[in-house]
Symmetry: C2
Subunit: 216 residues, 2 copies
């Protein structure tokens, strides 16, 4: 039996390296990340995970060649279309005042229940950690709240217990700095399109052995 | 030859578990972390590291029993005393409006050159990530700057390239959320008092193989 985290963050990295290994152009990798995403979502729902946050793409990622940015934008739109056939309380977070933000996802800037809901799913699209934190400074002028947690753009996303990153890199790459303060961080060397359920079980097994102290 | 990071963050965890393994009371572990700290500082200086940040203790840590909080406060004071015999540009960052902040360290709230300087050393003492970020909200009322990077309490600490954590835990525990956005994160299973130079070389060897993209 695993101790199931309330909230899992997913960094699905390695799509481009996966495509190159298959002699495909880099940008071809993103579409192969869609089925793994739905498979992971379903597994987590069955296990009773309450909240799941996927790293779509960041503002820093949009500095890449446009053939790549178009491909990962399309993958995000397609991911949401696939999710629309499932059950989820879906929220999309990211800088929507930009042509990089797909207009198809605008309806999800406030949380929407799809099907029977059941699990919160957050999707970071054109997200920037600096944008997120700076929004607290902008929000301040309009109110009296003085806690960053109440003012950031991602305030509706809760603290993350476990972050799983595919593709071998051991860094957060700006993934929700406030919510990831105490997250346990598990890295899988395989690239994201090679996702298999065993990866999740392996991460949960490791997480079950961690001592959660929150600094105490 | 290693690629030497400009800035290394150090999370010297495992002091209490180390002491327990030696049949000592938990709080006895902290003083055994002092010599390793100086040894690591000297190694980094020789290697040409430009900036080194040590995690002393956090506001969350101060929820522990007072025999422990007194022990880690003393260790921080002693660490600075030892460093005063070396060369460093020393800065202490933390919530100083609290009895948990040792008054002996007040002079270092602005950066001071010790000896010939040579390397920036930052020491987080009674640090809190929330305190750090919220200070940006307070600072805002007094000025027009609108970027979180210019307003946080730790604004004089630069982006961290490599974070090394001892004691096996794979989490940041609130370590400078803004500066650690793109940090590569290396975990050593040994407890901090068992530090040996090989740990640092191992981390640098791993870091040398990482592809630094900053999201691009």
């Amino acid at each position: 039996m695993y101790r199931i985290p309330n909230h899992i963050g997913i960094i699905p990295d390695g799509n481009r390296r996966w495509a190159q290994n298959k002699n495909m152009p880099k940008e071809a990798g993103y579409s192969y990340g869609l089925e793994p995403g739905i498979a992971l979502y379903r597994l987590c729902r069955e296990l009773g995970v309450k909240e799941l946050t996927f790293y779509g793409f960041t503002q820093d990622n949009t500095k890449r060649p446009s053939v790549q940015t178009e491909a990962f934008k399309k993958a995000c739109i397609d991911a949401v279309k696939m999710l629309e056939k499932e059950d989820a309380d879906l929220l999309v977070i990211g800088n929507y005042n930009s042509p990089m933000f797909p207009k198809e996802l605008l309806p999800y800037l406030s949380r929407k229940t799809i099907g029977e809901g059941k699990m919160k799913v957050n999707f970071l699209v054109n997200y920037g950690w600096q944008w997120d934190l700076n929004s607290a400074l902008k929000a301040l002028s309009n109110g009296e709240k003085r806690d960053i947690l109440d003012l950031i753009s991602s305030k509706d996303i809760s603290r993350i217990d476990l972050i799983i990153r595919w593709g071998g890199r051991r860094r957060l790459s700006g993934f929700l700095p406030v919510q990831s303060i105490y997250s346990d961080f598990y890295v899988i060397d395989d690239y994201w399109p090679d996702f298999k359920p065993q990866h999740l079980y392996e991460a949960l097994e490791w997480y079950s052995k961690q001592d959660i102290t929150l600094g105490g």
